[in-house]
Symmetry: C2
Subunit: 404 residues, 2 copies
């Protein structure tokens, strides 16, 4: 008789955003007259940039003619896209990354869920707490996290690095040495980040302790302050200890287009085995490339027109971030984030817990946010609002919240 992967049974509840979607759907069905504003899931709302639309149409036309039709893509992704990535995301920032270290994928969620596969079963992971739930959940599925304690909402074999108001949301080196350190910077959900010298300390720490950093830079386009690194490879030594995951979802509004990439430098090895070669094997065996038309759309993001248009989109969302931040402060909330990231992280009022505040906000303001506890135990008592709504909705949501 076949057996299932028992680790799945350990997972409490469903994936965070699936749970929220179900809850909101139920409320909407029961209250069809309510105009719900969704600032929960970090999904963009602005249309794709004109340069991207143009590239998509052009690529679609190519797919309609035998002479220009494209079948299976090259394993690592098309050269034209990997060249643009290396040029603009790395060389322009002084990072030494070559095209054959870039792996184009269908998005950062897949990559951040799959990357753990190339590591051993006994590796111990460390995560910022709170953080994007995929890192922990994918390691639960792989059996690396030990047992779940429902009371503390923690896994026995996961090292949590609390990021709370008391430490300015900056993770501290854990007491126990981890094997894999997930860093999401700018952080989802807190919207906060760290300076270049702070990141350098993490790189030095990883090298010294034999750990690998999985650096999720999905939100780097939202950095506005000067001293904040956009890539882990801005720090010397990172080529020997860090993998970087990038997304087109947030900088270019590709949540429904699906495109991302992962960088695995050739200098990252374990007892002489190249992790870059392992990831290439995984990529070649269990994935078949992002669509040609989508890779062309990604290329357009790096064109002169694309870059200018994307910059405007980011500015649009960051204006929303200001609206949320200022509105919440006016209403007396304690707020964080929103300067180098598109998320506002707030302390729930009146000692409500995160899900209580979720219900309170949904029922009284018809505004959807994300309970902080969904991102980890240290997120309890916090709440995330996303800047990815439309400006009009964002303003309306804050008006409602102010009236509570």
């Amino acid at each position: 008789m076949f057996q299932i992967n028992e680790n799945y049974q350990k997972l409490p509840g469903s994936y965070l955003f699936s749970s929220i979607a179900k809850k909101v759907d139920a409320y909407a069905k029961a209250n069809p007259d309510k105009n719900i504003i969704r600032l929960g899931i970090g999904d963009v709302t602005q249309p794709l940039a004109p340069a991207v639309i143009e590239a998509l149409h052009k690529a679609v036309d190519e797919m309609g003619k035998a002479e220009t039709f494209h079948g299976y893509a090259p394993d690592l992704g098309y050269d034209f896209l990997r060249k643009a990535i290396v040029e603009h995301d790395y060389k322009a920032r002084g990072c030494d990354i070559s095209e054959d270290e870039v792996f184009v994928s269908d998005g950062a969620k897949s990559d951040s869920g799959n990357i753990q596969e190339i590591f051993g079963p006994d590796c111990k992971i460390a995560v910022c707490d709170p953080v994007y739930p995929v890192y922990v959940d994918s390691n639960v599925m792989a059996g690396r996290t030990g047992e779940y304690d429902a009371k503390s909402e923690t896994w026995s074999n996961v090292i949590y690095m609390p990021c709370v108001a008391e430490n300015n949301f900056v993770p501290e080196f854990p007491k126990e040495t981890p094997d894999i350190i997930y860093l999401c910077l700018p952080n989802n959900p807190t919207g906060t980040t760290i300076s270049k010298s702070q990141l350098q300390e993490w790189v030095d720490y990883a090298k010294k302790s034999g750990a690998v950093i999985i650096y999720d830079a999905a939100y780097e386009a939202y950095i506005t302050e000067k001293d904040v690194p956009h890539s882990v490879y801005e720090c010397p030594g990172a080529r020997e200890c860090a993998i970087e995951i990038r997304s087109f979802s947030k900088n270019a509004g590709f949540t429904g287009v699906r495109l991302g990439f992962t960088v695995v430098p050739k200098d990252l090895t374990c007892n002489g085995v190249s992790l870059r070669d392992m990831w290439a094997r995984r990529h070649g065996t269990k994935f078949n490339g992002a669509p040609y038309i989508v890779q062309r759309a990604g290329e357009a993001v790096y064109s002169d027109a694309g870059r200018a248009q994307i910059k405007e989109q980011v500015a649009y969302y960051m204006k929303n971030a200001s609206v949320i931040k200022q509105g919440l402060m006016d209403a007396g909330y304690t707020v964080f984030g929103g300067v180098n990231g598109p998320y506002i992280w707030l302390k729930t009022p009146n000692n409500m817990n995160s899900w209580e505040f979720f219900d309170y906000l949904l029922e009284n303001a018809n505004v959807v946010g994300t309970p902080g506890s969904g991102f980890g135990p240290s997120g309890e008592g916090y709440f995330r609002l996303s800047a990815f709504g439309s400006y009009e909705n964002t303003v309306a949501a804050l008006e409602r919240i102010k009236k509570l």
Copy 2:
């Protein structure tokens, strides 16, 4: 110090089609004057159907306007696509499959590589031999296959079901009871298939022995004979023991568009745990949907115009299959397949082994095929030619082969 997944080190060489691509590239560079015809990898060459192109353009336009922009897709895929799938692929064939049992993905390769994740580490897999290499390779990565014996090119913990000329390429029930049975029908690479009553025997066998069938029906559109099942769910009992994987790559030429789906029926359980719910959890946690525009393209495949155009494409490739089959027979080869599948499977001449014949054909006819041994030990002494080239190239390739 972090450790790697040591199972990767057991994998001999690189992924089959990556190896072939490298070999052909090297030959092409050394012989720039040669006109190489590629009938190796099963990549299509005909442009996307007009109905698909139209749907893509329309969806791209939608993505360019805020009112019709689409961000993250629903976890299982858009309703419009899952409805079309259920209607045309299942209800029309009398199969009882509901929309919430269909999981839209970025392709059958990802799904067939990832599906093993929901099973226990000690499950023993059985595979047709020869077969599409992803089933075994993905289980090697997961540590289920034991040790590799380079001499026999087999894994100690894999049950091989030889499919050779002597048994008409029909797998026989193995002596040892497997937990997971991979069936790829019509078979890649042999192009052969089995009758409905033969498939029913497999369903009955799986139910009796407590095994689950992973049924890869990527090539079902190429079935021309009446008694050959298109879906495993045509067989009573399959809802309790089978998962089906489908692709848009081969029926609609989506190799570069990336779309597929997997069906996990709610009746498939293990000690009361629903495998459908497990796959939903996996899908929701480690994947973020196929692009909206691609799902709209998939919907167009099922429109009246789309279905007519796709039928023509399939006929075009099956005409190539006839050209190859007849041409090889005229040249004195022993050939199989090409009737219910787009692949022709031939016995290599003069006791050449598969890779010897690969080199022979590449160097003397400048034609690329796929060595049978790359699909499993029983593929040794065989060779695969794909019908997915253009008609002109296919005719030219056969002219060259006849002249050898």
